[in-house]
């Protein structure tokens, strides 16, 4: 148990460290370095502490179940492979931290650098330690993100930004594909738990979805490990600081892809599809990377393409799909990390001390930095596969596997041939590295005088090179157990699969692989010097052949095309034109309504009900209504006329309500209709009296078609509605309205009692609208004021009649209000009648006359109305009942007898006041814009 607790600490320590480092100031580099170093050393120590358990064959587990229903658990698992990688990450991390401490300029924000580095380290540890596939993907994406941050560290350089963006796009896309593959795997196996997935290899390979899952997972691995054709992001990532290149882009992050191959090998490997996908990709990458590396002028560029090539080698080994190949692959992962990290650091030293990375200018450096030259040469030799170094051993195993491979005639030839050619190229570029940097004449135009770096900056390189030599000389002793443990974990049948018999020895006797190595070495040296003599490699500005572009142009073309498409789509749909939006809205609504009816269509809701026989009155009324509606569209340009026709339609609707037994509704519709028309006429005073002719005829026709479609749809829908049977909850209201609500007018009782809260909201909206209108027009002085109405006497009849009508109207309003609970009427209608009466005064007598007599602020009416309505609701709280509960009683009045009085009438009063206030406020605000009669122009 105690050993298992080590796992979460190991995994989460770097994240904690990252946050801590981020908190320290950028200027104090030493603080950041020591913090980072402490974290890295602690992590490595923890990994080492787990060694006894791992070597004993134990698999360490730690987990908390996060969402068991989704199969998400947060847990870590350390077997041999994970342990090996953890050691790699931690060990090389320590060296990198030391190296970076010297590499960074004083001006570089150190805290940020180390924080990102620790973030990356934590994410990478998470990838190797995760015991749940989904968790693995999360950490995978986190490594991409950390890599993005680190590549773009020198954010002032355009190349760094572009490189970071390219890396993130490609690895991020790969991560998405990986997620798809993982989800599929989880679906096939029934769980995302790693052990379960690894144990279900046969089940997965037999499943019909296996090819899809395999290809998706491979896409993730190939993008991360820069396999062809996704390899082009890695050279562009060389814009990162060298410690980053050494850590991420040679030793750890790019190894995540091949780690995934190793990890998923028991589950996904061992099939023909695996072989025919992974091996060719690996082979092509191996050859392409090695070939391009020869022609690079940039130190880091050469190393980047060499990394691509070696990753291709590892991939190819996994693709070959034999146990021995898997062992060789794991071995090469270790070896490559060792010599490549040291080479990158050496390149960084050269860059730091000489001021340039260009091999055309760096020559003869062995004189100025002899120790670095020796280290670089040894590491390069390991890269080339020179005997007595670690690279030779894994390369021998590779050649053995390539030669011993036996599947199809094509591959039987291609594999050894490709391996040989790649070997030649590898030696060629390694010789180029050594020769062109440390020999080959004198340095040309270097900004600094090259010299040896500080002692401790060179130390990491020394450590790694010594390791290369030691492993090369005494492999069984140094690396044997480690390799055994790691390879075992990567093989079939879980952590205890039997390892194949192999011997890590320098000398296997005279054999074909040895001959191949010798040929490769000789051939590579010859190739290099031949190229030098023939072409003078320095002059080669562009790569020969079609590989010149390096993928960046393709990447840019694709991203530009995507952006262009996005721009076009946005400009088409969202071009700022309201008419287009409305057209699209109505069209989509129409299509949505049509969609269920295309094809079979839904069954009718019920048997069609017999219709009501048509009466002459209804026919005439609706004929007028339809004519008026159509007329509106024909004469819409003459706005006043359109308004009159609109009024006619409103009247028809009101009469329909009368016919269909809705007296309250008919009254409300009529009154609102009147107020609306008056309002629109007032507004028309300030708008152009006519609409201009529309420019586009096509648009009108198009809109006409859509309108007909919409109309037809609504007509069909209404007919279906009207001829279907229905049931309703209304009998409840009908039954209880008199007994519990105290009123016979069920509609009114619903409004102020059953659904009183809705009405409360409604009057609030009305009041708000009135106030907003007032606010919009309060201080507004229109620029072009029409001529004030002349002070000539008008017809005396209208003012007289209006003044006589006023008290009658008030009486009517009161009557409608009081009877509303038991007969058609109520707060709304009473309020509207009163408002109309007041408006009539304005119209008939003029604004001045009315304002002299009625000095009131209608905003107060709105406020009073809302307060009274609210009080009526709150009042019921005092009786222990919920908000807006009403009750009623009978008052015995002397002459009139028992008068029913419901407390809902108080609520209705609030409604009435608000309605009057809002309506008047709106109309008066607009009316005030016109100067009063007799005013000077």
């Amino acid at each position: 148990m105690q050993a298992a607790l080590l796992l979460p600490v190991l995994a989460l320590l770097p994240f904690a460290g990252s946050v801590l480092v981020l908190a320290s100031p950028n200027a104090q580099r030493m603080r950041a370095v020591s913090l980072a170093a402490a974290v890295v050393v602690a992590a490595t120590a923890l990994a080492l502490a787990a060694a006894p358990a791992v070597f004993a064959g134990e698999v360490l587990h730690w987990r908390i179940d996060w969402m068991p229903q989704l199969g998400l658990s947060f847990g870590f698992r350390m077997d041999g492979l994970a342990w090996l990688f953890a050691l790699l990450i931690g060990g090389i991390g320590m060296l990198i931290v030391l190296y970076a401490a010297y590499y960074l300029d004083p001006g570089d924000p150190a805290a940020r650098f180390f924080a990102f580095l620790l973030l990356f380290m934590g994410a990478m540890l998470g990838v190797v330690l995760a015991d749940n596939l989904l968790l693995l993907v999360v950490f995978w994406e986190l490594t991409s993100l950390a890599s993005f941050l680190l590549i773009g560290y020198w954010s002032h350089e355009a190349e760094a930004r572009q490189g970071a963006r390219m890396a993130l796009t490609i690895t991020g896309a790969g991560g998405l594909l990986l997620l798809g593959g993982v989800v599929l795997l989880g679906h096939i196996v029934g769980s995302f738990d790693l052990e379960a997935v690894l144990a279900s290899g046969d089940l997965i390979r037999a499943h019909p979805l296996y090819p899809v899952a395999l290809l998706l997972v491979l896409a993730g691995a190939f993008t991360k490990s820069a396999q062809f054709p996704f390899h082009f992001w890695l050279p562009h990532a060389m814009a990162a600081p060298t410690p980053v290149s050494a850590y991420l882009h040679s030793a750890t992050m790019v190894k995540a892809g091949v780690f995934l191959l190793a990890r998923m090998y028991p589950a996904l490997g061992g099939s023909d599809l695996w072989f025919w996908t992974v091996a060719p990709v690996g082979l092509v990458t191996l050859l392409v990377g090695a070939y391009i590396a020869i022609f690079q002028h940039d130190l880091k560029g050469l190393l980047a393409y060499s990394t691509i090539s070696h990753l291709g080698l590892i991939t190819l080994l996994f693709g070959i799909d034999t146990r021995l190949a898997v062992v060789a692959a794991v071995f090469h992962i270790l070896n490559h990390a060792t010599f490549k990290a040291s080479l990158f650091m050496a390149a960084g030293i050269i860059d730091h001390e000489a001021g340039s990375r260009d091999m055309r200018r760096l020559n003869g450096l062995w004189k100025s930095m002899p120790i670095t030259a020796v280290l670089g040469t040894v590491a390069s030799a390991a890269m080339a596969g020179v005997p007595l170094l670690n690279g030779f051993l894994s390369k021998e195993m590779f050649f053995t596997e390539a030669v011993g491979h036996n599947s199809s005639a094509v591959m039987n030839f291609l594999l050894p041939a490709g391996a040989l050619v790649a070997g030649i190229f590898a030696v060629a570029y390694s010789v180029r590295f050594i020769h062109d940097v440390f020999f080959n004449g004198e340095p040309v135009g270097l900004p600094k005088t090259p010299h040896e770096p500080p002692r401790f900056m060179r130390l990491p390189v020394e450590v790694l090179v010594v390791l290369c030599v030691l492993v090369g000389l005494f492999p069984g002793l140094i690396i044997g157990p480690v390799l055994a443990v790691g390879a075992q974990a990567a093989l079939f049948g879980g952590p205890y699969a039997p390892l194949p018999a192999y011997k890590l020895a320098i000398w296997h006797g005279f054999s074909l692989p040895l001959a191949m190595s010798m040929t490769a070495t000789a051939g590579g040296v010859l190739l290099y010097f031949a190229l030098q003599r023939r072409f003078n490699l320095h002059r080669l500005a562009r790569l020969p052949g079609w590989l010149a572009s390096g993928g960046r142009e393709a990447f840019h073309v694709v991203t530009e095309a995507k952006l262009r498409t996005a721009r076009v789509v946005t400009e088409t749909i969202e071009n700022g034109n309201l008419q287009r939006y409305l057209f699209l809205l109505v069209a989509v609504a129409l299509l949505a309504g049509l969609a269920p009816h295309l094809g079979a269509g839904p069954a009718p809701a019920s048997a069609p009900v017999a219709g009501t026989p048509l009466t002459f009155g209804v026919l005439v009324i609706w004929a007028i209504g339809m004519a008026a509606a159509t007329g509106t569209t024909i004469v819409y340009r003459q706005r006043l006329l359109a308004l009159l026709l609109l009024g006619a339609v409103g009247l028809v609707v009101s009469l329909t309500f009368v016919y269909l037994s809705a007296p309250d509704l008919a009254l409300t519709q009529l009154l609102v209709e009147m107020v609306t028309i008056i309002l629109m006429m007032l507004a028309l005073h300030w708008l152009p009296p006519e609409s201009p002719r529309e420019a586009s005829r096509l648009r009108q026709v198009r809109d006409f078609v859509l309108a007909i479609g919409a109309g037809a749809g609504v007509a069909a829908l209404s007919h279906a509605l009207l001829t279907s049977d229905f049931d309703s909850i209304s009998p409840y209201f009908l039954r209880t309205s008199v007994a519990q609500g105290g009123g016979a007018n069920v509609v009114n009782v619903i409004l102020v009692d059953y659904r009183g809260f809705d009405t409360m909201g409604e009057i609030t909206v009305l009041g708000l609208a009135g106030i907003v209108i007032h606010a919009l027009l309060a201080g507004f002085v229109p620029a072009r004021r029409p001529a004030p109405p002349s002070a000539e006497p008008r017809s005396p009849f209208l003012p007289l009649i209006a003044r006589l009508l006023l008290p009658l109207a008030v009486l009517l309003s009161l009557h409608l209000f009081l009877r509303g609970h038991n007969a058609p009427g109520g707060g709304f209608i009473a309020g509207l009648v009163l408002a109309l009466a007041l408006i009539l005064q304005y119209v008939a007598n003029g604004r001045q006359w009315v304002e002299q007599r009625l000095r009131t602020d209608f905003r107060a009416w709105i406020g009073a109305g809302l307060l009274i309505a609210g009080a009526a609701g709150i009042g019921s709280w005092f009786f222990g009942a919920p908000f807006l509960t009403s009750s009623y009683a009978y008052w015995a009045l002397p002459v009139l007898g028992a008068v029913p009085l419901a407390s809902a009438v108080v609520f209705d009063l609030g409604v009435c006041l608000t309605v009057v206030g809002a309506t008047m406020l709106a109309l008066v605000s607009i009316g005030r814009l016109t100067p009063p009669e007799g005013a000077p122009r």
């Binding site: 700022g576 309703s728 507004f780």
Partner: protein, 124 residues
């Protein structure tokens, strides 16, 4: 020929007219279209209570309180609320159109005449 049929056609015509006007380029025309459309929609909602002439929902003693004797009061109440609120919104839009015209000199729905807008875009 039934009342239902005539009503359905009537609703269709109202909707078509409303939609066509809604797609015009001047604010006032759009408002007229919106008003027509809201008449149609209110009628539609009201007609979920079906066609029941001559039976207003005013309870009279002696008649059983069922839908056989009274029209459905619930859609009526809902539509009443709808009518009042759409009146409030119509008033508001009109005033906004008024102010917009005063500020920009144009009553085009996009806030500026198309020619001016294009010139403005070219300048940008």
């Amino acid at each position: 020929m039934t009342v239902e049929f005539v009503l359905a056609i009537g609703l269709g015509v109202l909707t078509a007219a409303g939609v066509w006007l809604l797609l015009r380029e001047r604010v006032f025309d759009v408002i007229v279209g919106l008003t027509l459309l809201s008449y149609a929609v209110n009628l539609f909602i009201f007609l979920t209570g079906r066609v029941r002439p001559g039976r207003p929902p005013i309870v009279e003693s002696g008649l059983a309180p069922t839908l056989a004797h009274y029209a459905d009061p619930l859609p009526q109440a809902l539509v009443l609320t709808a009518i009042v609120i759409s009146f409030a919104m119509t008033a508001l839009i009109l005033v906004i159109a008024l102010r917009a015209r005063a500020e920009t000199g144009s009553d085009h729905v996009d806030g500026a005449e198309p020619a001016d807008d294009a010139a403005g875009q070219r300048e940008r």
